[in-house]
Symmetry: C2
Subunit: 670 residues, 2 copies
């Protein structure tokens, strides 16, 4: 491995470039999203979100922190004022990473030129803040500031360094090496000198530098970066960080990563660390470590993940709960954890080729990532609850910065990194659509797109994908370039897609969830069509999830639906669904641009009482669907008859876009 412009000129930027694995990732010059659900969101990200982030960072002084530390000190020789939090430097790095991917997409050369200048300018600013030995953090180590690495648990210095490295990787892979790579290598060298085998046995409270060091090793060919990542991994899990009220598990310092069986603690921390572990395992050929981490993630998906793919159940720290502890009203499901889950699932997909990781990426994209961003690209959910009990009451002046867990997207959150995290994922989303291997091309996510790459020993293949997914289930693939010989075109068939059909010319072939492979001689102009059964369906929870017992959810293709008070005359807390009637699509698209559905049910009257527990037989427990109006009967909070009605459901990712509302994903059943 060595630093070359090969990636940049040939395949384009890629977030992860493992040296081995089942599948080869494609770069931003090999895949292009041309429209549709994600094309629209990439466009908004590039034209609104990136500028929004820059404006706020300048306004809040986070970009200015670098100039302040690099060029001047306070009049009394003490520190200049550093604004923001101990992780604000990383926000600037993540914004540069997002900008770098955006330039790498090459959607609009004239706009990209301006964005390129912005990256160069920000890089110069950052470089000015770097110490002579490569150390770079604006809040530590200068006169009057706390010393370097004095607070490893909360200081976020290694975390910030990791994001600097990631930004440099993105920049170099997208546009070639420049000053940012120099700055990043100097910082990486300083970390290795400080925490290497001859240095301190320290780890950071927030992982992130581990996968970054591996990626920098992949980019530069420097073994010592990989070694340092492996060392951080081995040092972790021995309760080395100081104990605080959050506990060691919150920081994933409770037990070594090789001994854990499930993810715990703060999801972003746990997932970033797992990414680093997969990267180290892949590069060192440590299959046991790879299997261990895959097992941790599998158990986390089986027992600790919300229906939306969101993670985290505890308040106020947002940590994973115990197995099956998944209360929808306390779902933290932090937007950053969604980004981190995509990162981990992508690494495992590349390493193993297993389609269920593609399923998880799809679930998270449609139900957390798409939920977290406002239509304007300038407002965000920091966390993504599955049940909003009360409409958010806006306090005047608080619109920009409402509290965590509030039911409205906000322009910014002081303590959140979601804006830049979502931006860097969306700008690089193109790279998560497809992969190649020696024998062919694999499609993992479905969007209007063009894919053009080389397979095997350099055979050119290209396809164009056309689809209305996820509104409709047809995915049409036209071969636009090939050499006329045999290769394999593979489709991920989602786990929910029972009854999917692959249409090849006049041949209709039922395909099962998993991977559908079509291997033959292709010629230009061939059309293959995957038909996924996108229609609303009821979903039941595992009986061990106490918090949603007696409820159903409705999903439609990869999209989780929800009931929002905006559509409902009655109180959402009284809603009852009758799952004996199948849910139905509402014909045609709705003004919001997407298909919605209805389920049968109603809003029975609930009697107000002085004690919320009643003897059995004291009222109708299970109301039947009636055609008449709602009737109150029985004592003690008992439910009266339920009026038959079609209850409108909308995609969960669209909730709270029509103003403050209450919302629930899990719907009580009759």
């Amino acid at each position: 491995m060595s630093v070359t412009a090969q990636d940049a000129s040939l395949v384009g930027g890629r977030p992860v470039v493992p040296s081995r694995g089942a599948l080869r990732p494609l770069g931003l010059r090999e895949v292009r999203i041309t429209g549709g659900f994600w094309g629209q969101r990439q466009q908004v990200n590039g034209t609104a979100t990136l500028d929004h982030g820059r404006v706020w960072m300048d306004k809040l002084g986070w970009t200015g922190n670098f100039a302040a530390t690099g060029t001047a000190t306070g009049a009394d020789g003490g520190p200049t004022e550093v604004r923001g939090r101990e992780f604000s430097d990383a926000e600037v790095y993540k914004l540069i990473e997002a900008m770098s991917w955006e330039v790498g997409r090459e959607a609009d050369p004239s706009r990209d030129a301006g964005r390129d200048r912005e990256i160069v300018e920000l890089t110069a600013l950052i470089a000015a803040g770097q110490a002579a030995d490569g150390y770079l953090h604006t809040a530590f180590g200068r006169p009057g500031q706390p010393p370097r690495y004095a607070d490893l648990a909360a200081g976020h210095e290694l975390y910030c360094a990791g994001h600097l490295l990631q930004a440099a990787v993105a920049r170099t892979r997208s546009s070639g090496p420049d000053q940012l790579l120099t700055v990043a290598r100097r910082q990486a060298d300083q970390v290795c000198a400080t925490f290497g085998p001859a240095g301190a046995e320290g780890i950071g409270g927030h992982p992130g530098i581990e996968p970054a060091l591996v990626e920098l090793a992949r980019l530069t060919g420097e073994q010592r970066y990989l070694d340092q990542a492996a060392r951080f991994l081995d040092l972790r899990g021995h309760r080395r960080l100081p104990a605080d009220h959050l506990g060691w598990s919150y920081y994933r310092d409770d037990k070594p990563v090789r001994r854990a069986t499930v993810l715990c603690g703060h999801p972003v921390r746990a997932l970033y660390l797992a990414c680093g572990a997969v990267d180290v395992a892949v590069e060192t050929g440590d299959d046991e470590l790879l299997q261990t981490v895959a097992g941790q993630f599998d158990r986390t998906l089986a027992r600790r993940t919300h229906l939306t793919g969101g993670m985290g159940s505890q308040r106020p720290d947002g940590a994973f709960g115990d197995d099956f502890d998944l209360p929808p009203d306390r779902a933290h499901a932090q937007s950053c954890a969604a980004v981190a889950a995509v990162m981990l699932a992508w690494r495992l997909l590349l390493a193993t080729g297993q389609p269920r990781y593609g399923d998880l990426i799809e679930r998270v994209l449609y139900n957390v990532v798409a939920t977290a961003i406002g239509d304007d690209g300038r407002s965000f959910f920091h966390t993504n609850t599955l049940h909003q009990r009360f409409p958010t009451r806006i306090v005047p002046g608080d619109q920009e910065q409402p509290g965590t867990g509030c039911g409205l997207r906000a322009a910014r959150f002081e303590a959140s990194r979601c804006l830049t995290n979502l931006a860097r994922l969306l700008a690089s989303l193109t790279a998560y659509l497809a992969t190649a291997d020696d024998g062919g091309l694999q499609l993992h996510q479905y969007a209007d797109a063009e894919v053009r790459t080389r397979i095997g020993d350099g055979r050119r293949v290209a396809v164009r994908v056309t689809t209305d997914y996820p509104d409709r289930g047809a995915v049409v693939v036209r071969v636009t370039e090939c050499d006329g010989n045999r290769w394999a075109l593979s489709f991920r068939v989602p786990a929910w897609a029972t009854g999917a059909v692959l249409v090849d010319g006049s041949v209709r072939r039922p395909v099962r969830p998993g991977t559908a492979v079509l291997e033959r001689d292709f010629k230009v102009g061939d059309v293959i069509r995957l038909e996924l059964p996108v229609r609303p369906r009821f979903t039941l929870p595992d009986p061990r999830i106490d918090a949603v017992r007696g409820c159903v959810a409705v999903e439609r293709g990869p999209v989780v639906l929800c009931a929002e008070s905006t559509d409902q005359g009655g109180e959402l807390d009284r809603l009852l669904v009758d799952p004996s009637e199948p849910p139905e699509d509402v014909s045609g698209r709705q003004p919001g641009g997407e298909v919605v559905a209805t389920v049968a049910g109603g809003f029975p009257v609930v009697c107000e009482t002085d004690w919320p527990y009643r003897p059995e037989g004291g009222g109708t427990d299970r109301p039947t669907v009636a055609t008449g109006p709602s009737v109150a009967t029985g004592p003690s909070g008992a439910i009266g008859a339920i009026g038959a009605a079609a209850i409108r459901l909308v995609p969960y990712h669209r909730w709270a876009r029509r103003g403050s509302s209450t919302m629930r994903v899990w719907l009580p059943r009759c």
Copy 2:
């Protein structure tokens, strides 16, 4: 009103002596618990818990703090070491209060003499720590300590002062005025001087001084104490305390008490404040305030109270949740909140005479107070969850002080006041059994007891109560003293007691839940028998309580039952109950000394899957009861057939007495 020995010599100690109200409380010389469920617990409290508390307070240095501040300062002129927390002084006061009630019970004159000397000795110790102007707190105001009242939100100075006053009230009412009353009055005067109309507009972060000032006013006849309580009440609710991360509602400083509609924030704070508001309302004849507070409590009971009577749903702060936000696995249900709920319900019962407040007291006593104390009287639950998911893993050395929310009773909790709070309630429990009014005697709680008082213009009446309650439902009352004329004997018939019968000689009269009144000429030897239908019954939750949808609970008389893993072969998380079969008593008493019950159900096999949500139709959703063994069927976490079995349930208050276990009150139904 004036300080006399009248209470002490005639009726004995009483926690609350309102100057008006529907019912007159009886004192510790008018009622005596002679045995049974509560007699046993009072005995353990007097012989074990009080000494246990004293030993720990000496060991932890809390009693020593008074000597330290009163007699010496550090060598450098700085503060002597003060140990414990900012509320540790109050622990000593509450222990003295408990000892005072215990002496007032006069159960054992020889033991009481020793206890009396202990009170005198502790009082002298405390008096030595009092400043010249009456101020008394060991952690503030001395050289090197923070200044007095510098941290009203968290400093607990007014809170501690309140408990000093309560201790003096208990001591004076039980045994007559002594030095403790002098100390308390000097402290009260200092508070009035500091925070009176000419003083600061301040309130404490933890209420408690409000009801204490009213009670001291009732005892001493000093109007200014009542005025000061009313002033604290009026000053509260204007966001005067500094904002912190817990929010103003946590401290009940979010809105004036006269404008609130429901209790919120920290339950102990909210309930103590409500007690003070009732006391002020009663003494000032402010019926509007009384109705307002009663309404707040009523709504709290209707929407924010766990089945056990426990309060608080949030972690980690233990605050009330929103309406119907009652997750059993996150129930805080702090033991102190139970004591505070009894205090408030008792005040409202005295003011209004409504039996539902007696119901609540009974519920809290049997299901939180009795739960919180170990059989040895030396171990305690700080909080009382309704669902323990995992057995507590004991960390060696942590037995004395495990974390909040742990599933084992502990010898002490550094941050908990439950030991002394439970002790003072149990020592004075006798005073909560019965009341009198002009026309007769009212029995509110059922226990083996003797009641001897005067009604109307001094007519003597006495009864003896004999019962196996709550194991059995028969309560036998024998008239042991009367003048042969007409008076009324009233019984509280609990809300659950549908089908109760009052037997008067040969006459059996069905009585409805509420108050059953028997008014006639009584003669000595008359026997009246109340038959309450104590048998296990299913209880259903309000459909708006999301957290227990699809579950049933089982109650037996006033006792909530639970399933404990100790009795179950299978995993508690798989338990399913079939409510079509009525629950049954297990014949005879059990080794634990109490009746237990069984319900039909079983532990079906749950299939392990890689995703905990399954499509409808993907498995058996509602298993039927089968006589064969458990069978696994279906994909995706679906439940297999349920084996028919009798599932043993035990009183919730007995859980975790046989070692570490898992437990649930709310049982999933087939």
